[in-house]
Structure formats: C-alpha cells, structure tokens
C-alpha cells in the first residue's frame, strides 16, 4: 500500500466513531421519518396506519395554517439573521481588540445564553408585560406611552427577536472570537509593520482568514432561525392571532398535541427543503467571494 492510500484509509479510521453514531442515531431515524411522511399515522385512531403516498405533502401545500406559519418563520429569520451576524461580528472584533478585561466582557456577554429557554422566556415575559412589565414602567417614568410589546401583531415578532438576540448573540460572538484568537499573531504583526490600517487589514486579511468559521456561523444561525420554537412558544404561545407561530411550533402541535405523526413528518421535510435552499444560496455566495 502506498503512503497516500494508507493516509486516506487512516482518514476514515479517524471518522469511524462518528460515522457509527451518526448512522445509528441520525440516518436510521431519518429513514423512519421518511416512511412516516408517506403514511397516514394518527395515534388517536389505531386502525388507520395506511400508505397514502404524497397526500401529506399535498395537504400541507394547501394548508393555510402551514403557509401562515412559514410566513412567520421567514419574518423571524429576516429580522434575526442579519442583526445577529452584524452584532456578533462587531462584538467579537471589539473583544479581540481589547488589551484588558476581555475575559470578563466575554463572560458577561455569554452569560444570558446559559439560561435555558424556559428561564429566559419567563424573565422577558415579565419585562414585556403590558400592565406591570418593566419596559412599560420605564416608558411611563420617562413620560412616554406604554407599548403593546407582545399583544400587537406588528410589535410581537420584533420583541421576540430582541429577546432572542439578548439570549444568543453572546454565544455566536464567542465562536467568532475563538476563530480570531486562532489566527497566528505574526500575521497581524507583519501586516501592521507594513503599515496596514485597521479597516483594510480587516477586509483584506482578517475576514478572508475567518471565512470557513463565518460560513459555519452563517449556516448554523440560519438553521437555528428557521427552526425557532422556544422563544415565541414561551413569550406569546404563537399569538396574537397566530402571527408568531412558526413552522416548528405548528409541527409540534400537529404531531404531539393532535398525534398526526405522518402529517407532522411531511411538514418537517418541507421545512427542511426551505432551509436547505437558503443554506445552499448562502454557501454559493460565500464561496463566490472566495474566488
């Protein structure tokens, strides 16, 4: 065996433990859910497990509630993803440039993300509450009119986004900071000696070196935004008038409150297609910037 062949084989050897776990706990359940999506599988009526072909998918595409949920999800993603990325990148660059106190600031920014979503939801419900909430108390104190943070169709989604940013922007910026710290310092020193100013350095050297990690951040945040569930579920239960009920919440209610497993699985696959499409476009976009 040549050295190169041996090296390639060793590659899969290193991958083996993950491949075994992935096959057992991801691929097999995916197979089961694909099977579910072409079945009528309602736990409420035992005899009705039957093959229905693409019926579940056709039903979903004609389901007004599904489209309403898709619209809410898209609205959340459009508000969330750009503000998340800009904020997280700025915070990471700011922390990276700090000559003291960086670890304290990182811990402070990261802390909100350590609360599980139920805790964060309970806390912000109190902030947003119309009558005895903190924000309206401040507004009244400043002589301004109280706002319907969660009870108005126009206000509710931006309020959910604000809470989500507080909860998760620290985590993303910590990931970007770790990437910045992994860039050998010599590269910056050499460029600075050559007289490069901060912003040209940022766009010509720092960001290109960060590209693989930024790709990771963009893709995982897109996935996270499209699968949003906990924050609206806890803050508004999807209201007012279902305006903040996303697709995952609708799937959850279909599968686990109404026990329509087949229909829930089919809608999950439709959501998967939408996310994959967005991720692919972003991937192409970031790759093109590379050439």
């Amino acid at each position: 065996m040549t050295y190169l062949q041996e090296r390639k084989l060793t590659g899969w050897l290193y991958l083996a433990p993950f491949v075994v776990a992935f096959t057992t706990f991801v691929i097999v359940p995916i197979g089961v859910s694909l099977w579910l999506s072409v079945m009528r599988f309602d736990l409420t009526s035992r005899e009705s497990v039957s093959f229905v072909g693409l019926q579940n998918f056709q039903d979903a595409l004609k389901d007004d509630y599904f489209w309403q949920a898709m619209k809410a999800t898209l609205w959340f993603a459009v508000l969330m993803i750009p503000s998340m990325l800009i904020l997280a990148l700025s915070l990471a660059l700011g922390m990276h440039a700090m000559n003291r106190g960086r670890n304290v600031v990182r811990a402070m920014l990261f802390l909100p993300g350590m609360f599980n979503v139920a805790v964060a939801g309970i806390l912000w419900q109190w902030f947003y509450n119309g009558e005895f909430g903190l924000f309206n108390f401040w507004l009244k104190g400043a002589g301004l009119a109280p706002q319907p943070w969660l009870s108005d169709r126009g206000f509710a989604m931006p309020s959910i986004v604000l809470m989500s940013l507080w909860w998760s922007v620290g985590g993303t910026s910590v990931v970007i900071l770790a990437a910045l710290q992994q860039i050998p310092k010599q590269i910056f020193e050499a460029a600075t000696l050559d007289g490069a100013a901060y912003f040209p350095l940022l766009s010509k050297i720092t960001l290109p070196l960060l590209r693989p990690v930024l790709m990771f951040v963009v893709v995982t945040n897109t996935i996270g935004a499209f699968q949003v569930f906990g924050q609206p579920f806890l803050l508004t239960r999807g209201g007012p008038e279902l305006s903040t009920r996303g697709v995952v919440q609708y799937i959850y209610e279909t599968a686990f409150n109404n026990y329509r497993m087949g229909y829930g699985a089919a809608m999950s696959w439709l959501l998967f297609l939408v996310i994959a499409l967005f991720a692919l476009v972003q991937y192409r976009f970031l790759r093109r910037g590379h050439q």
């Binding site: 920014l109 599980n116 109190w126 910590v174 992994q182």
Partner: protein, 274 residues
C-alpha cells in the same frame, strides 16, 4: 491604536456587556425578594433580603431530590462533552487533514441532517432506545448526543482556518499521523475545542425534551427538568420561579468560569497566540 482609543474601547465594551448582564442581575436580585415586593419594578435591589425562596426549594428533599438531580446532570453533561469533543476532533482531523476520500461530501450530508427539525427524531429515537433497554438510564441521554453534527462541522471549519504549514513540517520531521494529531493539531485547535466543550456542556445541561421523554423515574431526571416540573405547580409565585431558575443555572455558570480559565491557559501553552 492610540492609547486613548484603547481606553475608550474597553469602557465601551464594558458598557455593552453591562446591558447584557442587567437582566441576569435583576433576576438574581429578585430571587432574594419577599413575595410582596417581587413585581415592584421601582426597586431592583431588594428592600428586604430573604432566603425564603431558596429555603423553600431545598426543603423539598423528599419529593424533589435536588442533590441527586445535580449529580445526574453533572454525569450526563460531562460524559457527553468528553465524547463529543473527542469524536468530533477525530472526525474533523480525518476530513480536513487526512483528506479522507468523500470526507467533504460526508460533511455536507451531516450539515444537511442538521436542517431537519429535531422534534422529528423524537419518536424514532424513543422506539430505538426502548429496543436497546436504555430508557430511564443515563445512556439514553449520553449516546445519541454523540451523533450531533454541530461539533464535527465546527471543528472542521476551525481546522481549515489554521495554516497546515506547521503540521507539514512535523510530517517531514517524521511524525506519524497520530503524533501530528495529538502533539500538533489538537494544541493548535485548543481554543475552538474549549469553545465546543462549553457549548456542548451547556446544550446537554439545558436539554429539556430528551430527559422529559426518555426518563421515567423522578430520581433519574436531570436538574433543569426536575426543577421545571416542580416549578409548574407554583407558576404564579414569581420569586420562587426565579430562585429555581438561578439554582438550575448556577452550577453551569461555575463550570463555564472554570472552562474559561482553561481556554486562556491552553492558548498560552501553544506559544502561538497572544
């Protein structure tokens, strides 16, 4: 950057961080308020300090074994973290450095699988775990967690961002792939591995759906789930709710602070970073 600019930057970053921290501080303060004072937003700091909320929770011992839940959580989250960081760094090394043929395509499949809503896996996983007789044991929470693609994706992208030149030099010097992996690649990727470790630990600690569905006995619950189930019974008592939240999160914060020191130290030891 000039000196004044640096000082301004540090002050500005601290101001922003304080805004992020304020809700957390408010929550901690409120958990020490007596019930009559809780919803009064006029004073963030309690006029009367009381431990009654905490004493109430610790008084549950019989029906809510707090210590046992804490132990369960530590055991599950530590196991998951060690396994995920180990398995993911091996896999990322195989894909990005040893260039396993088809490795990138495989990574594509892994990332695609992350796009499927996790709720979808719940029913198939339950059926499988019951076949393995793993339900109501820690195995049900530990083993499936190692299959998540997040860690492999993250470490692969971080390894790509590290120049290969140092590893190539080690290979020319006669190091085997195993030696390069342990002595060169892993130390170089220490910050990203520590970051993945922190995220994995937090994710596992806060996992709600898993313990809720896969664990039957109350004594086998993890801390956040156990506490949340007892929380629902007095949902309207706000001070008590916040006190339980603080207690469920405090161990996690301590672990993070310990990890954070680890991140800094591991960077210093590689001699490459600032």
């Amino acid at each position: 950057m000039r000196r004044a600019g640096r000082i301004f930057l540090v002050a500005f970053m601290f101001a922003i961080a304080a805004i992020f921290l304020a809700p957390v501080a408010l929550m901690a303060f409120t958990s020490f308020k007596p019930e009559s004072e809780v919803l009064n937003p006029a004073s963030a700091i309690p006029k009367v300090w009381t431990l009654s909320n905490y004493l109430h929770i610790l008084g549950w011992v019989e029906e809510a074994p707090f210590g046992r839940w804490l132990l369960n959580s530590f055991f599950v989250s530590t196991s998951v973290t060690v396994l995920v960081v180990g398995i993911s760094s091996m896999a990322a090394y195989g894909i990005t450095r040893l260039k396993a043929p088809g490795g990138n395509a495989f990574l594509g499949v892994v990332v695609a699988s992350m796009m499927i809503p996790a709720q979808l896996f719940l029913v198939p996983l339950y059926l499988m775990l019951s076949k393995f007789h793993w339900l109501d044991t820690p195995l049900a929470l530990i083993v499936p967690a190692t299959a998540g693609g997040w860690g492999v994706f993250m470490l692969s992208q971080f390894m790509r961002a590290v120049p290969e030149a140092i590893e190539e030099a080690a290979i020319i010097d006669g190091c085997s792939t195993g030696e390069v992996f342990f002595n060169v690649t892993l130390p170089l990727c220490a910050p990203s591995m520590a970051t993945l470790g922190v995220f994995t630990f937090i994710g596992s600690w806060n996992d709600f759906l898993g313990p809720l569905v896969f664990m039957d006995s109350v004594r086998n619950y993890t801390l956040p789930v156990g506490i949340a189930l007892y929380q629902t019974s007095y949902y309207t008592e706000y001070g008590l709710t916040l006190a339980t939240s603080v207690m469920a999160t405090l161990p996690l914060i301590l672990v993070f602070l310990a990890f954070q020191r680890q991140i800094v130290e591991s960077m210093a030891s590689t001699g490459l970073k600032d």
